[in-house]
């Protein structure tokens, strides 16, 4: 049985233009060979620092930007090189929820029309009455008040707007929803509500989620598997439990050690990375993490580590044979 979504060596290089005639002077290697897959009903999270290319992956899958290279399969059908007219019917199955609840809704469109738009686009309702019933059912599903149908987005709070966005993403009966930092702009309490809503919907509808986030605390609650990205590449991909208990890649460990622990007495060993993330215009040779890695050795500077299996369903792109012996999981004192 084919995976719902398969991404194979996906690349997106943004050309840098300069000068009067816009000659290309270089590329931003935003996404540079990313491979992963998402099963039906599964949540895969992509985590990483800002600028590591995680949002670009989401947009390239949706063809909001054209991928430079690589393959994307949706249910076994290759979609990265389909003409946009042929892609349109397949768009029904993959929807998106964006980060900013304010700019992701048209300020001049009523909430009902906004949720109805994908249903109308794909001709999923036979008449106006059925359309209205479907919109109301969707609003109930995301727990929006029914009178919202005639109102405008600016009348709602951030959390409510995100519910509208989720309703719109569910409207065409999608199988996969790409949540591009969908809860990052929300307050902690609202964030929890939206995360719970998403996992309820997943159980109810068998949705697959591609959850793009920089917030490991949220990821821990929601996800089945996690892919960690650094500078346009996936450095480690594994299930949630292994990631939080036995991660292999030094970058993942550093990332985990940066998660704040709401306990002032907790003793933990922080891994402080030195320096900044190198520029994606001119990424380092060999391992992209070697400029900041505390365990760097000669091989890392010349040879790029490939993703290799380090356990069942656990892949890591690091030359180190064994995970560094550092305990980063916080212990209560």
């Amino acid at each position: 049985m084919p995976k719902l979504l398969e991404v194979n060596a996906l690349k997106k290089h943004f050309p840098l233009k300069a000068g009067l005639f816009g000659g290309t002077t270089g590329y931003v290697y935003a996404v540079d060979g990313v491979t992963f897959s998402v099963d039906c009903g599964e949540t895969l999270s992509i985590v990483g620092e800002s600028g590591c290319g995680k949002s670009t992956v989401g947009k390239a899958i949706l063809r909001l930007i054209e991928p430079t290279d690589g393959e994307v399969f949706l249910d076994g059908v290759r979609i990265d090189n389909l003409p946009l007219s042929k892609l349109r019917p397949l768009r029904r199955r993959v929807q998106v929820v964006f980060q900013d609840p304010f700019s992701s809704l048209n300020p001049r469109q009523r909430v009902g029309d906004c949720i109805a738009e994908p249903i109308v686009n794909f001709g999923l309702a036979k008449n106006a009455g059925e359309l209205q019933d479907r919109v109301i059912a969707l609003m109930d599903k995301v727990r929006l008040p029914r009178d919202a149908i005639r109102r405008f987005p600016h009348e709602f709070s951030g959390g409510q707007r995100q519910r509208i966005g989720i309703a719109r993403a569910l409207a065409p009966g999608s199988d996969l929803i790409i949540c591009d930092e969908a809860v990052s702009a929300l307050d902690v309490s609202v964030k929890a509500q939206i995360v719970n809503l998403l996992s309820d919907l997943q159980d109810e509808l068998g949705l697959a989620l591609l959850f793009i986030s920089h917030d490991l605390a949220i990821v821990e609650h929601l996800t089945h598997r996690v892919a960690v990205m650094y500078l346009g590449k996936i450095v480690e991909i594994t299930d949630r439990r292994t990631l939080f208990a036995g991660s292999h890649h030094p970058y993942t460990r550093a990332l985990l050690s940066a998660v704040p622990v709401p306990d002032p007495t907790a003793i933990r060993q922080r891994i402080i990375l030195r320096g900044d993330v190198p520029s994606p215009i001119n990424p380092p040779n060999g391992c992209r993490f070697h400029t900041r890695c505390p365990y760097v050795f000669d091989r890392c500077r010349v040879e790029e580590p490939l993703l290799r299996s380090v356990g069942s369903g656990h892949q890591s792109a690091c030359h180190l044979e064994h995970a560094p012996d550092v305990d980063v999981i916080p212990k209560a004192a």
């Binding site: 909001l64 349109r88 029904r92 980060q99 700019s103």
Partner: protein, 303 residues
């Protein structure tokens, strides 16, 4: 220790609560609108008055604006000639009233025409890269010529007529609208709600119609009011230098041009058309400022 109980007398002498909150004045629908958008109200009211003058000029005028009476020339304002008379003895008051027609007609026509044409050009070039490259260079070329100079040059090609004035000023104003619309379209195209619409299978024409166009209207309406004001001034300048409305038709620019030679001794001939022009432009600008604030849906709900 005993607790002191308040006697009924103590309660009675307790001071009455001050009226911290004065009772809310009940406002009607109109009162509420004036309170919320005073500039729209003031600008709109002034403009309505000028519109009324333009429409009913024949009934408001005291004399035929083109009737010549050389014996009574250059009279100062009086009961007979409210704004005085010019060097041919024509009634300045009647001429100024009739001039309102030309100014408003030119202002409104230019605003509407240049908005529609500019909107179309802006939408197309904001969405099509190769059209953008060509059309925007032409627009840059047009914009590099000062708009009055361009209007004078275009008027030199045809005969003086207010419709030709409209065309000449519109050509000069279109690039400004096209640029504005293109800029807005390019920003809106990157908005997440447009990307979400693309992802949910909305076709390009519908995206333009439903998501782009409604959000460009507010800046265009505001821009249109400013174009209207500047078109009125340009029309007056063209008439003043003799490149616009023919002298047989009274327009504010014409009246000022005719009174120019005498303005040091008989300033009233220039003063009244200039006052009307200033007030009309002021009214339109006031309206434009008010609309700019009011048309933002996020500010619309403030009380």
């Amino acid at each position: 220790m005993s607790t002191t109980l308040l006697s009924p007398v103590d309660v009675a002498v307790a001071p009455a609560l001050p009226d911290v909150l004065p009772p809310r004045r009940a406002r009607g629908r109109v009162g509420m609108f004036i309170h919320r958008h005073p500039t729209i109200f003031a600008g709109g009211l002034m403009l309505a008055v000028f519109l009324f003058i333009a429409v009913f000029a024949p009934y408001l005028g005291t004399a035929d604006p083109t009737a010549i009476a050389p014996a009574r020339r250059t009279r100062p304002p009086s009961e007979l000639f409210w704004f005085g008379s010019d060097m041919l003895g024509r009634d300045v008051y009647s001429r100024v009233l009739y001039g309102t027609r030309i100014s408003l007609a030119v202002g409104f026509s230019v605003a509407i025409l240049s908005s529609i044409i500019g909107l179309f050009i802006g939408l197309v070039s904001g969405f099509t890269r190769w059209v953008d490259a060509i059309v925007m260079r032409i627009m840059d070329g047009l914009m590099s010529i000062p708009s009055i100079l361009l209007a004078i040059a275009l008027m030199a090609l045809t005969r003086g007529d207010w419709k030709n004035v409209v065309v000449a000023i519109t050509v000069a104003e279109v690039p400004r609208v096209a640029r504005l619309v293109r800029g807005v379209v390019l920003t809106l195209r990157e908005q997440p709600y447009v990307e979400a619409a693309v992802a949910s299978g909305t076709r390009v024409p519908k995206i333009i119609w439903k998501h782009i166009l409604p959000n460009t209207l507010a800046p265009i309406i505001v821009q249109a009011t400013f174009i209207c004001a500047s078109a009125m001034i340009t029309e007056a300048i063209l008439s003043f230098i003799g490149a616009g409305t023919p002298p047989t038709i009274p327009s504010w620019g014409n009246i000022m041009a005719e009174g120019r030679a005498l303005w040091q001794v008989k300033p009233h001939i220039v003063f009244f058309p200039a006052l009307f022009l200033s007030l009309t432009v002021f009214a339109v600008n006031l309206l434009g400022d008010g609309l700019r604030d009011a048309l933002d849906p996020r500010l619309a709900k403030r009380i």
